[in-house]
């Protein structure tokens, strides 16, 4: 059930009505029912995996809590007992993580991995041909995060399996996250509330904004990307660069638009979910970019992979070695850099088992390490060149520098293979053929001039709104202060735009095409 289907709107509206009609009673089962309907619409078979992940992590939570209690019951002096329980807890977390991520791996990548082996081996290895469950990696990350938090005694485990299942399966976040935290999300899901119209309105507005970005902008840009980026690209570098720009616009508008729909729908139910995008266009460094892009994944990686990894014994040893043998700043950041590489490699592999994602991970890790190493030198340069790093110009320079670095990464992200990415990069620089920008080539990429104008205008609107937000503006609050007519316009215009330019963008076949010129 896609966000863009009538069924999703009907499910949301129907669930919301029932949810608020029950405001004197327990409401969360309504959310669970809606979530299960949503998930069942994607295929009953896939539900098995949802239940499997939920069951494993719910059980692990209970076991860990019992161990936590046992550990508390031990006297402080019983070091051996403490250590024993700690080892057991670690074992539980490890088994859970292996089971969960093992499933994700097998589901997403087993067949790709099998294909990497020589044909003789490939024939012997069984293939895994189950339907990939919707949102599998998102709810797996979310559930494993919960298990680790219980391991760290951050909060008590959830004993009610139905309530826990709701936390794992809450329907608006099923498709693409954001990856929620139990302590932030579960209390909201399980709360009892009567309708807060303000919250409902803002949820609707946020969802409309998401639909606008997704259906009006991203779906158009996608056509260009599919035409331009790929094997044997026939276009010159300038057009390829336009394709990469279109890919960036598509990626951002599609992903952040989807998240806005998710958060908007959640707000209709009175639930506030964490932001997942913090206007990455304004990032001033690659590290800053990763803080603003897909925030919930970044935080998950930080809390559950980066921190434990960099404070682990092997990395501590590596750090000591670095301080002794390298000395200075490089020695001090050696362990952290190594952990950074691991994190970006994991993020890369999470995107897909492909050599290009490996390179993508190295690329991000290297740049961030280099910038850490160079931080002092940059400061010295800035002083030597009398650059005022608080000035607007410098700020813009850092943004533009980040865009270039990110765009470079986009070549890798958008191409089917690393070689393709490299050849596209080479063409961009060596054979730009800028004349293709105005000789009509752009109008033969699958979309019309009007579509280009809509992408351009739409992107401009997104940038304007984000600039306003970046300066601390609150869009919805500002709107609420306007007079009734303006507020009505802010309903009617977006609805018409989404309907005509989004919903009805595709799915029209001109009669001359239907008839096929017989």
């Amino acid at each position: 059930m896609a966000f863009t289907s009538w069924e999703f709107l009907l499910l949301t509206a129907g669930a919301a009505v029932v949810y608020y009609l029950l405001h004197r009673h327990t409401q969360w089962p309504v959310l669970l029912a809606a979530s299960l309907i949503f998930y069942a619409a994607g295929g009953l078979g896939a539900m098995v995996w949802l239940f499997a992940i939920a069951a494993v992590t719910w059980g692990a939570g209970l076991v860990l809590e019992r161990m936590n209690d046992a550990r508390k019951a031990l006297s402080k002096g019983d070091k051996a007992g403490q250590q024993r329980i700690k080892r057991r807890k670690k074992a539980v977390v490890a088994v859970t993580a292996v089971l969960c991520f093992g499933l994700v791996y097998v589901m997403k990548y087993w067949n790709t991995t099998v294909a990497l082996f020589p044909a003789a081996v490939e024939r012997v290895l069984p293939r895994w041909d189950f339907l990939m469950p919707l949102g599998l990696s998102f709810f797996t990350f979310q559930s494993v995060g919960y298990v680790i938090d219980v391991y760290r005694s951050k909060y008590a485990a959830q004993r009610n399996p139905a309530k826990y299942l709701l936390f794992v399966s809450f329907f608006p976040q099923m498709v693409q996250g954001p990856i929620g935290r139990y302590d932030a999300l579960a209390p909201q899901l399980l709360a009892q509330r009567s309708v807060d119209w303000r919250m409902v309105d803002r949820g609707i507005q946020l969802a409309m904004w998401g639909y606008f970005k997704k259906m009006v902008i991203a779906d158009r840009a996608a056509v260009v990307v599919n035409t331009v980026i790929g094997e044997n690209c026939p276009y010159g570098g300038a057009v390829i660069f336009v394709g990469i720009l279109a890919y960036s616009v598509q990626l951002y508008c599609d992903f952040s638009g989807g998240i806005d729909i998710t958060r908007g729908v959640a707000q209709i139910f009175g639930i506030d979910m964490a932001e997942n995008f913090l206007r990455p266009i304004f990032a001033t460094s690659l590290a800053d970019y990763w803080r603003r892009w897909h925030v919930s994944l970044g935080h998950w990686m930080r809390d559950y992979l980066f921190y434990p990894l960099s404070l682990s014994k092997p990395f501590a040893k590596l750090g000591k070695w670095g301080r002794h043998h390298l000395g200075g700043l490089p020695g001090k950041i050696l362990a952290t850099s190594a952990a950074t590489f691991v994190v970006y490699l994991v993020i890369g592999i999470w995107h897909g088992v492909n050599f290009r994602y490996f390179v993508y991970g190295i690329w991000n890790g290297s740049l961030i390490t280099i910038s850490m190493l160079m931080e002092h030198r940059f400061l010295a340069w800035k002083q030597a060149l009398h650059i005022n790093d608080k000035s607007r110009g410098y700020h813009f320079f850092t943004m533009a520098r980040t865009w270039l670095i990110v765009l470079f990464g986009r070549y890798i992200g958008s191409s089917p293979r690393l070689l393709v990415a490299l050849s596209l990069m080479a063409t961009t620089i060596l054979h730009p053929v800028p004349s293709q920008l105005w000789d009509g080539t752009l109008l033969n990429l699958g979309i019309t001039g009007t579509d280009w104008a809509i992408i351009g205008l739409g992107t401009a609107v997104v940038l304007a709104v984000e600039t306003f937000q970046e300066r601390g503006g609150k869009v919805r609050e500002t709107l609420e202060r306007q007079n009734g007519f303006v507020q009505w316009l802010a309903i009617a215009v977006p609805l018409i735009v989404i309907l005509l330019l989004g919903v009805f963008r595709a799915g029209y076949i001109s009669s001359s095409f239907i008839y096929g010129q017989y």
Binding site: P308, G319, K332, M372
Partner: protein
């Protein structure tokens, strides 16, 4: 101890006024990479063991908070 901490932090994150800032994490002046670099350095210098569970924003928002954390761990 605070001066030592400030010295460690300034080396890792140049250009931040650690003596007066009280929202280092919340304002994004120090990010997760810096934290880990600082933590490993602190563990080395003060010979304490800082756990993942201790890596909370409230423990690293200011030099005072860090000093408090270290004192607590040294006990």
């Amino acid at each position: 101890m605070k001066e030592k901490i400030i010295q460690i932090m300034s080396e890792i994150c140049p250009g931040v006024d650690f003596a007066t800032e009280t929202a280092l994490i919340d304002d994004g002046l120090v990010d997760s990479l810096d934290i880990v670099n600082i933590v490993t350095e602190l563990m080395d210098v003060f010979d304490v063991e800082i756990n993942v569970e201790d890596l909370l924003p409230e423990n690293f928002n200011s030099v005072d908070a860090i000093a408090q954390l270290i004192e607590q761990l040294q006990e």
